[in-house]
Amino acid sequence: MNSNTLWLIVQRFGAAIVTLLIVSMVVFAITAVLPGDAAQQALGQFATPEQVAALRIKLGLDQPGVVRYLHWLMNLIGGNFGESVSNAMPVSDLIAGRFPNTLMLAATTALVSVPVALTLGIGSAMFRGGRIDGALSLITLALVAVPEFLVATLAVLIFAVKLGWLSALSYGGDASSPWQFMRTYALPVMTLSCVIVAQMARMTRAAVIDQLDSAYVEMARLKGVSPVRIVLRHALPNAVGPIVNAVALSLSYLLGGVVIVETIFNYPGIASLMVDAVTNRDMALVQGCTMLFCSAYLGLVLMADLCAILSNPRLRTQ
């Protein structure tokens, strides 16, 4: 790694932090400044002006938006997310209680979907234009297009209602034995994996095909190297960068899917906490969850970026 690459990486980190700051401004503007007077809303129509004024001062609403934003940001950096109104608990405690569950769900999904997607993607790139490839592109196109709750509904109908193998409801966190763990996680993980596997397989296929179209692969083919060896020894090492990039980007799609999946399976994670917070209009909790999700999203996109940079030899030699 030379100074050029290092500088590029530092630049990426800087850009990610600036983006996160802008995102926090947008989140704060939408949730705290635009909706109007939170004190008036909290007290209702029949509050006296004195009561409203007192609450405004107590909540710090009499200060200008910029000051409130900076105050909020400082608290956020210090790990103080504020107090959840509907739960009467600090937001950080609530999030800390639910976070391991969501992390467990995401990790299991990644563990299941990455090998499946890579096998499918590399396989269909090897047999490009064949019947398997055609079927896979049709299936992945369909899976990317359908909503998560259709996949979830069909999965519950087939595996829980018709076959009776699994319970329709998830009782998250109950993972005392491997069998229990399977029963708890099978359906949510299956649903989440479907969409992600489709995305990832498609991007992997594109990355491998990109390499297979290059001159050195043609050379190897002319030399008489077997197709399997071409893919595994020649194309794949060069496709690792784009593939890891694809994996990281696809995993960022987990964030959208997890909101639906946690709700439909009653899974006690951060996403269902956030949906409840939105329903109850519990602003501090909404802000905390949003910032957490957006940081995770930006983190994954940053990782994808860094993989693209590190795997690009042109940047190393310059």
């Binding site: 802008i22 592109s137 995305q199 939105v278 209009r281």
Partner: protein, 291 residues
């Protein structure tokens, strides 16, 4: 530094659109027919619906598919066929309005940023970059938490989340066209900025922009029905297809038609749009490649 590398590691993820094998042109036709069917349902669904949308017609809740009730009945014993026919209007209508607005606004900003001075281009691009890094579902959730859910807000949210993507695609198209000779000639001729944007650049990027509009429509259908599924989208007594899935979720354990059919309806709509768009895109790709 190589500019193509700089572009390839921009902060927003771009999923390459699927390409189906060229041997299957009939799939595009299937997609187009599905799209047409749903458009007709959205336009005329309320006329052909056999029952009023809120009328309880059967004593059996979660009835299965039968000749009297082709889609079964819902959790109150209402006719699902009528509810789907009328619900499609919200799903298709809201998504279509949002997609047209998002694409239009994105294209407008793109044209503006290409012909306008450099500093304006920089401001617009940075702003769009910031919005693209908030996942659409997160943006929708905070918008609903702040302003409450209404149809206008849902359209605004969808436009806010999908304009940056449309902008990005339209801008890259416009930048390429702007560098071509005939635009240079027009500039030398002394044409104004507005003329160049509307008469020289816009007509030549219309096709890919319309394809992008179709893709965006599919994404917005998914976003809006997802929000309705969470109970944060279209509010009762109105119901789009996502709300129909949500309100009948109690029938999941019985495998009721009332939950499967609206979910399948959304799936068929989005798959149809994707097949259609895929066909259009690959035809254009071949034309461009055959030059």
């Amino acid at each position: 530094m190589n500019p193509s590398i700089e572009n390839s590691i921009a902060p927003a993820p771009a999923i390459p659109p699927a390409r189906l094998p060229r041997k299957t042109p009939w799939l595009g036709l299937v997609g187009a027919s599905i799209c047409f069917l749903w458009l007709m349902v959205a336009l005329f669904g309320s006329w052909i619906a056999p029952h009023p949308v809120g009328e309880v017609v059967s004593d059996n809740v979660f009835d299965t598919i039968s000749a009297v009730y082709p889609f079964g009945t819902d959790y109150l014993g209402r006719d699902m066929l009528s509810r789907v026919l009328i619900g499609a209007r919200f799903t298709v209508g809201l998504a279509l309005v949002s997609a047209v607005l998002a694409s239009g606004l994105g294209t407008l900003c793109a044209l503006l940023s290409v012909v306008a001075p450099k500093w304006l281009d920089e401001i617009i691009s940075r702003l769009m970059d910031a919005f693209i890094s908030i996942p659409s579902k997160m943006l929708a959730l905070i918008m609903v938490s702040a302003f409450g859910s209404s149809e206008v807000l849902l359209v605004c949210t969808a436009v806010l989340s999908y304009t940056p993507g449309a902008f990005r695609i339209a801008r890259s198209l416009a930048v390429n066209i702007e560098a071509l000779e005939y635009v240079q000639v027009a500039r030398t001729r002394g044409e104004g900025r507005i003329y160049i944007a509307c008469k020289e650049i816009l007509p030549n990027m219309l096709n890919p922009v319309l394809t992008d509009l179709g893709l965006r429509f599919g994404f917005i259908v998914l976003l809006l029905s997802g929000m309705s599924f969470l109970g944060l989208g279209v509010q009762p007594p109105d119901a789009d297809l996502g709300s129909l899935v949500r309100e009948n979720i109690g029938g999941l354990n019985q495998g009721a038609a009332a939950i499967v059919i609206p979910a399948l309806a959304i799936g068929s709509l989005t798959i149809g749009v994707n097949l259609f768009i895929d066909r259009l895109a690959s035809r254009r790709g071949r034309r461009a490649g055959g030059r």
